[in-house]
């Protein structure tokens, strides 16, 4: 069975091809028949229901079900026990890039061998963990989509993209080397773009897709630089070889690792939506809700954490890189949680919550607790997928309403959604014995006990931030529940008349995921002897470094209990406050608070103006898109200065009135207009006529040849 591992990504790929081709074909025939009927303007958007629906359903969900079965078969073929003892299986499919023999003698002792990159799949305990929950949660979300997208005319297209995503994600997870992982990495980015912009005729969705794609490119640039660095240092990209060599000779590689790891981490920051590249994730909510659950909560965005955990040997060689990871993660967790407090779109709250929880995972990785990070990846996949699917069910019931201010009192009308949503909320808030409690607690304990030689005060600071974030998480999640499910319904009477529970295909995944949100954390119970199953399971992928002393100091049980009590206390305070303020008090206290601190409220509601700043500096400044950038580069360079300065000034002055924006604006506008005049001449040369360019090229060539002939 383990040699059939290649079938795992292959099934979704086949599903993608079948779904995509059938959809294209059916759309074409539909367009032709409508042309024949005398409607030349029919642009593929036929108003009839989805065609070939049964086929798309069977192929779309069936392919993922099959790959899930094969995945579990392969895992159990090797055996969970032997995986946790370090057994792994590398399946080389074919030689991808043969580069010949390595003839350079690098400065560091690398394996002087053949330079090759294979298409190879690797099943060890880390990828087995990812594989298990990605295929399973993916399958549930495919089932959910059958109900959620049932009336959409793009049904086939949707399933084709979703299957392509599963193929890319499984390639990413199973890859045995950096380059194949990068292929999957780019593949999931592409599918993310396609699915965010699924409603491509709506401008905001298309824009959100482009934003996600562009922001991810920044991260991917860092990732591929990191891959180059690894290749230059080790002469191979194979995970097994790279990590074995690095772990056996830490002193030789440590000096180079800070740069390499920071490059790799930039990739993770982009994919996993960490500060400052998190801005695409909230906008990505423009995609259909199951997509948000699958790609932007459970699987794709955790790829960054997976990558960092996969490269844990490299990261552990560089304390500085780990410090950056921890600080970025901790800051993002707190930052995103505060924004989530005041959002009114149900999916936006969940999006910021995802960013915040991803911050937790990176915080764990940064303090060296890679197991705790991966643990949180798994539990987060369960409860966040449940929350997103639950919000999808709410939106479905309300006919597309996403504004929390127009919900309320839904608990009696859609009971299954309500109960599952509540369970997942308790899980994310860290209510004891539910999934989120154990993983979050493992992270908090690891942060508390970590130490950074360069900044001894940092662990306590990060721990305080993480603890505070836990309270905020409980607060904003229960605010969401209170606003949506308690109190009186605040929408239109027409909406109220149509509220009904979602079909079976949607509630069933919710129930399964809610169950997993309860029991998912029991694989990592602390304190109890033998309770930390996940730690034992993942132990082989976190090998000891040669020459380093294994730090075997189990924290005293009392300390661990105290830490738990603190996090539970914060979560309880958050839950109770949210319940009192929003369910009982109907939002009067928060409204008063917003009145009392208008500056703070505006900063939170506008997400700290980060989008506006990026927009001013990068979008407006660098031209509204690549095309204009090419021919108006002169004008935009000029624009960059005043717009950036003006935006920064606007943000700052509206918050604190410290800067006098008129003075600054006046000065920079003067600079701008004077420079703009100068560059107007240069703009003339860009006519857009290819023939003009060719003429200039030909003339230039003629001049060069003439000069050569005369002066040779």
């Amino acid at each position: 069975m383990k040699d059939l591992l290649w079938l795992v990504p292959l099934f979704p790929l086949a599903g993608f091809l079948v779904n995509g081709l059938v959809y294209l074909f059916s759309r074409r025939t539909a367009a032709e028949s409508s042309l024949a009927a005398g409607h030349p303007q029919a642009h593929g958007h036929t108003e009839t229901g989805p065609k070939w629906k049964t086929l798309h359903t069977v192929v779309g969900t069936g392919s993922v079900a099959l790959s899930c079965l094969v995945a579990f078969g392969a895992i159990f073929d090797i055996g969970v026990r032997s995986l946790s003892e370090g057994a792994h299986h590398v399946l080389t499919l074919w030689r991808w890039i043969p580069l010949g023999l390595n003839q350079s003698t690098g400065q560091v002792p690398g394996p002087l061998a053949e330079w090759v990159v294979d298409v190879a799949l690797r099943l060890d305990s880390l990828s087995a963990l990812m594989l298990a929950f990605v295929t399973f949660v993916g399958f549930l979300i495919h089932v959910y989509s059958v109900g959620y997208m049932g009336h959409d005319s793009g049904y086939g297209r949707y399933f084709a993209y979703l299957n392509l995503f599963m193929f890319s994600m499984l390639t990413l997870v199973l890859a045995a080397n950096f380059l194949l992982m990068f292929v999957g990495w780019e593949g999931v980015g592409l599918c993310s773009y396609l699915l965010i912009g699924y409603d491509y005729h709506k401008k905001f969705a298309a824009d959100a897709g482009k934003k996600a794609f562009v922001v991810n490119r920044i991260g991917d640039f860092g990732f591929i630089l990191g891959i180059f660095g690894v290749f230059a240092l080790f002469g191979t990209l194979d995970f097994g070889k790279v990590f074995a060599v690095a772990a056996s000779n830490p002193a030789a590689y440590a000096p180079y690792m800070t740069l390499v790891c920071l490059c790799l981490f930039l990739g993770a920051v982009g994919k996993s939506a960490q500060f400052p590249l998190y801005v695409w994730l909230p906008d990505a909510m423009a995609g259909p809700t199951p997509v948000s659950a699958l790609i932007h909560a459970a699987t794709m965005v955790t790829a960054g954490v997976y990558m960092v955990a996969r490269c844990n040997v490299l990261f552990r060689l560089s304390p500085d890189a780990l410090l950056v990871v921890a600080v970025v993660g901790g800051f993002t967790a707190l930052f995103a949680a505060t924004i989530g407090l005041v959002q009114n779109d149900i999916k936006k709250v969940l999006a910021y919550s995802t960013v915040s929880q991803l911050g937790y995972m990176f915080l764990a990785c940064g303090v060296g607790a890679f197991v705790a990070g991966m643990f949180h990846v798994v539990t987060h996949a369960f409860f966040k997928a449940c929350l997103f699917l639950g919000s999808g069910s709410v939106i479905h019931a309300l006919g597309g309403e996403q504004d929390l201010r127009r919900m309320g009192g839904l608990s009696r009308k859609i009971p299954i959604t309500y109960v599952t949503f509540l369970v997942a909320t308790f899980a994310i808030a860290g209510v004891p014995l539910l999934a989120g409690f154990f993983s979050k607690d493992a992270i908090l304990a690891a942060v508390f006990e970590s130490h950074f030689p360069r900044a001894p005060w940092l662990p306590k600071l990060l721990w305080t931030a993480a603890l505070f974030t836990a309270g905020l998480t409980a607060f904003y999640m229960f605010r969401l529940v209170s606003l949506a499910f308690y109190g009186k319904f605040r929408g239109t009477p027409e909406q109220e008349a149509h509220i009904q529970e979602s079909p079976r295909s949607m509630t069933l995944p919710l129930v399964v995921l809610a169950l997993l949100s309860v029991v998912g954390g029991w694989i990592g119970i602390p304190i109890l002897r033998g309770g930390d199953r996940i730690g034992e399971f993942l132990a082989p992928v976190i090998p000891a470094l040669a020459g380093a002393h294994p730090t075997e100091h189990a924290a005293p049980v009392t300390l661990e209990l105290a830490l738990m009590a603190a996090s539970v206390a914060f979560a309880t305070i958050g839950l109770l406050l949210a319940y009192l303020w929003y369910a009982k008090g109907e939002g009067r206290v928060p409204a008063r608070l917003a009145e009392r601190f208008p500056g703070l409220y505006r900063a939170l509601a506008n997400k700290y103006f980060v989008d506006e700043a990026y927009d001013a500096v990068l979008v407006e400044g660098l031209g509204k898109g690549g095309g204009r950038f090419l021919w108006e580069v002169d004008a935009t360079v000029v624009d960059l200065i005043p717009n950036g300065a003006a935006a920064a000034t606007r943000g700052a002055s509206s918050l604190s009135h410290l800067f006098d924006k008129y003075v600054v604006d006046g000065a920079v506008n003067g600079v701008a207009s004077s420079l703009q005049g100068g560059f107007r001449l240069l703009r003339r040369a860009q006519t857009g006529q290819v023939q003009n360019y060719a003429l200039v090229m030909g003339g230039g060539l003629f001049c060069i040849v003439a000069v050569y002939l005369i002066f040779r």
Partner: protein
């Protein structure tokens, strides 16, 4: 009169110049494409002439490659022409400058 390599080169030069001129001054996209073909064939002639002169088959092999690529270029070019015509109802290359390429 024997035909030396110079004769081939002169013909090739003339063909190339006619093609270049066509690319530079004509506004009809079909004519431009035909002119490009002319330039490519001038290059082929050049390659074959030198190949014969130097008794080296590389030039002839290379010209086969050029012919193959030219076929692909013609196919893509004509496809672009058709889709341009469908979009804009014109074959004038000056009208297709909105990308400012």
């Amino acid at each position: 009169m024997t035909i030396t390599i110079n004769h081939y080169l002169v013909v090739s030069f003339l063909l190339f110049s006619i093609g270049l001129l066509g690319v530079l001054v004509r506004r009809n996209i079909l004519t431009v494409l035909m002119s490009v073909e002319l330039m490519l064939n001038a290059v082929n002639l050049n390659l074959i002439a030198f190949s014969r002169r130097l008794s080296d088959l590389t030039g002839q092999v290379f010209s086969i490659f050029v012919i193959t690529i030219a076929a692909g270029e013609a196919a893509v070019g004509l496809a672009l022409t058709i889709s341009l015509f469908r979009q804009r109802r014109t074959l004038n290359v000056e009208e297709a400058s909105s990308m400012r390429g």
